[in-house]
């Protein structure tokens, strides 16, 4: 398959990238290419130009930053999955990054590209919403920090402006007795999430003091499961309590559930509580409440 032709510009720096974006209306940013290139090959996207930001050093790498972990937007899924820091303080993210596509995809695909692409069946957006992560972007008006919860607005749409570049994702540090997990039901062909559930729970002496649960795959964009969270907080984290809370996901899903020829909306709705339950239980186990 051959994409339509386009102009190619390689950005040497972040400011260079912004300049190239400004001077090439309709240009698309290219990082690892694992979201954009497949679309272009199928001619579902035919940008007039691409701006390759893949070699901007300041966008790469994982570092501790004040109250959390800062992950440069060019950091690959493989790097995230292998990072001891991420595994320790954002286990769900490491887990999800290790389940994206396949090893070769994870070696090239980047967190920034993944987030900007906002495929509803993608893994990382779900986790970032559950972990209350922040997306840092820079544009003509300067830098801004966007909460992941609210960043994703629809199928492949976000609040990111065309002239903005994601520079980093910041994941807050773990509280005491906080744990997170990601559970995925993969499509057998595409390996995208049919259902993806990320959960982060905090306990205070066995009682759930805080919970964030996010859903992906079966909804148009990564979204919080508010009813589940509400049912969890203040209760225990035993199997029964988790099961009861997970059953509330039906309320959160409403009529927005996505279906396809592999798994209908009805089926996804019916089994969603199971995956929610498993994600919460795994998160609770990591919070020290196995």
């Amino acid at each position: 398959m051959y994409s339509a032709n386009f102009d190619y510009h390689r950005a040497k720096s972040l400011s260079d990238a912004q300049r190239l974006l400004a001077s090439n209306p309709g240009a698309k940013l290219l990082a690892g290419g694992h979201s954009l290139i497949p679309l272009m090959k199928l001619r579902l996207a035919s940008p007039s130009a691409v701006v390759d930001i893949g070699r901007i050093p300041e966008l790469r790498g994982i570092s501790k930053s004040g109250d959390g972990i800062r992950i440069g937007s060019l950091t690959t899924h493989a790097e995230i999955a292998a990072s001891a820091d991420v595994q320790k303080s954002a286990a769900a993210l490491a887990e999800a990054a290790g389940l994206v596509g396949d090893p070769a995809v994870r070696s090239r695909g980047t967190i920034g590209g993944n987030v900007a692409h906002a495929d509803p069946a993608s893994d990382l957006p779900t986790v970032l919403v559950a972990l209350d992560a922040k997306i840092v972007a820079i544009g003509p008006k300067g830098e801004r920090t966007i909460s992941a919860d609210g960043f994703f607005t629809g199928i492949m749409s976000t609040t990111l402006a065309d002239d903005e570049v994601i520079t980093a994702i910041v994941v807050p540090a773990l509280a005491k007795e906080q744990g997170s997990a990601y559970v995925k039901f993969s499509h057998p062909a595409s390996r995208y999430a049919v259902i993806g559930v990320a959960a982060s729970v905090t306990s205070s002496g066995g009682t759930c003091s805080a919970a964030r649960v996010a859903l992906g795959g079966l909804v148009p964009h990564a979204t919080r499961a508010n009813a589940v969270e509400k049912a969890l907080v203040g209760g225990g984290l035993d199997t029964t309590a988790i099961g009861t809370a997970a059953a509330k996901v039906g309320t959160d899903l409403g009529n927005e559930v996505t279906g396809d020829i592999f798994a209908s909306a009805e089926y996804r709705t019916a089994v969603a509580p199971v995956y929610v339950k498993r994600a919460i239980a795994a998160a609770a186990a990591r919070a020290g409440l196995a």
Binding site: Y2, Y8, L30, V105, A189
Partner: protein
């Protein structure tokens, strides 16, 4: 628009003028006539086009040649330039890890990437490491055995 790129492939430097849309796999196959790298799909699923790009196994169908400018690429042709099979190739031969051979170059690089990270993988780890490389002939079983044999022979 045409671009100048310079890639080192199997140890040799190539300077070429290319269209920006040229994929790395087409650069290898059509521009350099290194046809050992295969194309098995158009959706980044099958892994037949897997090559080493700066030491990392990548799907060369999902990478622009322009992105690889200045990089070093190893293709299947670069593993046994003098005809002496390397340990992974040898293991695939020994354990009947191939039938029609079409997925084999990609499988070998997926194997090399795995063994570089984990010198003694379990069968389950091997199967997961090969999840992005499709084979329709072998049912994967002898490929798993090949990877185990390569690991036992000290392939990295």
């Amino acid at each position: 628009m045409e671009l100048s790129v310079s890639l080192t492939v199997n140890g040799r430097r190539y300077d070429r003028q290319i269209e920006p849309r040229l994929l790395l796999v087409h650069f290898l196959r059509d521009t350099l006539n290194l046809t050992g790298t295969k194309i098995g799909c158009d959706t980044s699923q099958c892994g037949a086009c897997t090559v080493m790009l700066d030491g990392v196994a990548v799907k060369s169908c999902t990478c622009l040649a322009a992105q690889a400018d200045g990089s070093s690429v190893t293709t299947i042709e670069g593993l046994a330039p003098d005809g002496q099979l390397d340990r992974v190739q040898e293991a695939f031969w020994e354990k009947h890890g191939l039938q029609c051979g079409f997925c084999t170059p990609g499988m070998i690089f997926a194997t090399k990437a795995l063994l570089a990270a984990n010198s003694n993988p379990s069968a389950e780890q091997i199967r997961h490491a090969l999840e992005g490389n499709m084979c329709r002939c072998t049912g994967y079983q002898n490929i798993v055995r090949s990877v185990q044999a390569a690991a036992a022979a000290g392939a990295r």
